[in-house]
Amino acid sequence: MKLSHDEVRKIAKLARLGLTDAEVAKFSVQLSDILSHAKMLEEVNTDNVEPASQITGLKSVIFKDKVVVCDHSEKLLEQTPQQVQDNLIKVKNVF
């Protein structure tokens, strides 16, 4: 299967990646090869087989709905490269 340059640009947009024309060309070949190779899975009969989302029989873990002290906020806000205002990260306009 072959991914067109337009399809690659569309995927890049969904993934919030900006690609140069040269990158679009390079990745379209590489992604096409990788996805073509994956088509061999069609040889495996998976009728009535459940897809695995986890592999060790995990069960949901429940925590008590109890308030605990969490003094992380300052340390976490120190990490942002954006501005902080009123204990919130200030972001640029959406549009």
Binding site: L3, V8, I11, A12, L14, A15, R16, L17, G18, L19, E23, F27, Q30, L31, D33, I34, L35, H37, A38, M40, L41, E42, E43, V44, T46, V49, E50, P51, A52, S53, Q54, I55, T56, L58, S60, V61, H72, K75, L76, E78, Q79, T80, P81, Q82, I89, V91, K92, N93, V94, F95
Partner: protein
């Protein structure tokens, strides 16, 4: 004396510390000196932490050596968060990121008294099989500096193999501990999914990622595993499975053990010398009393596409958090929010990370999710069943770790599929959540290390360690050291 200290195993070092033959400070200085002299040849460390190391070593000397890891110098793959110490994932997007908390595995090692020498080089975000995608350059193989150390945990493997750390911690999603251990000639253990907590370790593929040790011997790896394994309140994928004393399962004979040879593993383009070394190794096991049977795992040839469809899908989700807002790199001169996202991610991520994100975005999208991601997830269910049936016939599966020995730097960089194929024999354990131990099993005509892989059923690390230990003690491969002078 200084020269000898860095050649010691954890077990030997612990004995020496207890007898006061040397202190943890002297030992740590010996490793730091060796790193200063030799790591410029290997590039296994991203950040060396001499002040932290010496402070921790002083503490260990004061407290005494109650635990086997007390005062023992180690390295951590640079995706393991260390509070106050730069943790980069070897990517420009986190180049100056300093975590505000420790990964649980680091906390457990600190509790056991281990000393942090520094953070190790890795493929960017642990995506790769050669450590070439690190933004800090490749880690060179200690046995041949023109070749790769393997990946993604190339730094942790090379540093242990070259005596630049007494042990190290890496991660294994599809082979990232076992393959570099094989290429560098040291012991590397992939644990069962959930055996060791992942909290604070930068995620690649959350239903496969595992944390595990590199050591100079099987015993050393068992000692580290004792300190890091077990249920964690910070990671709900760590079940309440008991943690035995793994060092007690190390016996020199294999009476009563059945070794399974997975036929199809040897049909995946394994080179002749590797095939011979591993088959010779299985003969050693037979002589030690093991029963040897052949088993068939017909889905083996589908493992690579199954693997990369799942991990690249999960990775695309995990990589979405790097957006230039909460931490890490942010693009300068971006005027709108969308521009911040696109520019930050384009500038910050390397090619393999971008490829992974794009593959995952495509395979999870409406119209394609059934044919790609869900199909792979169904094959995963079938593979699990295949391995469960195999383990009814044997205690462990033994095969080569890597189809070939260390390849030249640059050789596979233009061919992503060829790079993925390096993991043909290691991805099944990732897909099925099994433990796998890679141990030194010989060298090829070029003097490059050959590794043998021992896989066990989930939560049966003790069987892999037992078989590995018996083989190791009956052979001399683990005693060979590279000449870096």
């Amino acid at each position: 004396m200084t020269k000898n200290l860095t050649t010691l195993t954890i077990a030997e070092t612990h004995a020496g510390l207890k007898k006061k033959e040397f202190s943890s400070v002297e030992l740590t200085k010996a490793y730091l000196d060796r790193i200063k002299t030799l790591d410029k040849k290997l590039n296994s460390y991203v950040t060396v932490t001499p002040e932290v190391a010496l402070e921790q070593a002083k503490e260990a000397d004061k407290k005494g050596f109650a635990s086997p890891l007390s005062g023992i110098p180690m390295a951590l793959k640079d995706i393991v968060c260390t509070a106050g110490i730069r943790t980069t994932a070897c990517s420009k997007i986190l180049e100056n990121f300093v975590p505000p908390y420790n990964a649980h595995v680091y906390d457990r090692l600190l509790k056991a008294g281990a000393v942090l020498l520094g953070k190790s080089n890795t493929d960017q975000f642990a995506m790769g099989s050669s450590s070439e995608t690190s933004c800090f350059g490749v880690t060179k193989n200690p046995w041949d500096l023109t070749r790769v150390s393997g990946g993604s945990s190339g730094g942790p493997a090379a540093s242990v193999a070259a005596d630049l750390a007494a042990f190290s911690i890496g991660t294994d999603t599809g082979g990232s501990i076992r393959q570099p251990a094989s290429l560098c000639s040291c012991v590397g253990l992939k644990v069962t999914y959930g055996r060791v907590p992942r909290q604070g370790v930068i995620a690649y593929a959350s239903s496969l990622d595992s944390i595990g040790p590199f050591g100079k011997t099987v015993e050393d790896v068992a000692l580290v595993l004792n300190a890091i394994a077990g249920k964690s309140e910070r990671d709900s994928t760590t079940p309440d499975a008991p943690v035995p004393d793994y060092s007690k399962s190390l016996k020199k004979d294999l009476k009563g053990m059945t070794v399974g040879i997975p036929k199809e593993y040897f049909e995946q383009g394994v080179d002749k010398e590797t095939d011979k070394a591993v088959r010779d190794g299985i003969e050693v096991m037979r002589k030690l009393g093991a029963k040897v049977v052949e088993v068939s795992l017909p889905l083996t040839k589908y493992a690579i596409p199954t693997y990369y469809l799942i991990v690249k899908s999960e990775a695309s989700t995990n990589m979405a958090r790097y957006d230039g807002i909460k931490y890490g790199l942010t693009a300068k001169d971006a005027k709108e929010l969308a521009e911040i996202y696109v520019k930050t991610r384009s500038e910050g991520f390397g090619d393999e990370v971008k490829r992974a994100i794009m593959i995952g975005t495509y395979t999870l999208s409406a119209g394609y999710i059934d044919a790609f991601y869900l199909k792979a997830a169904k094959v995963r269910t079938l593979m699990k069943k295949e391995y469960e049936e195999a383990f009814e016939k044997c205690d462990v599966l033994v095969a080569p770790t890597s189809p070939f020995t260390a390849f030249k730097i640059g050789e596979k960089m233009d061919d992503p599929l060829a790079m993925y194929a390096a993991d043909t024999l290691t991805v099944p354990a990732g897909i099925v959540g099994l433990p796998g131990l890679s141990i030194p099993a010989g060298f090829d005509k070029k003097g490059l290390p050959i590794g043998m892989q021992i896989m066990a059923n989930q939560f049966h690390e003790e069987k892999a360690l037992h078989v590995g230990y018996a083989f190791e003690q009956a052979t001399e491969w683990h005693k060979m050291k590279p000449d870096l002078n």
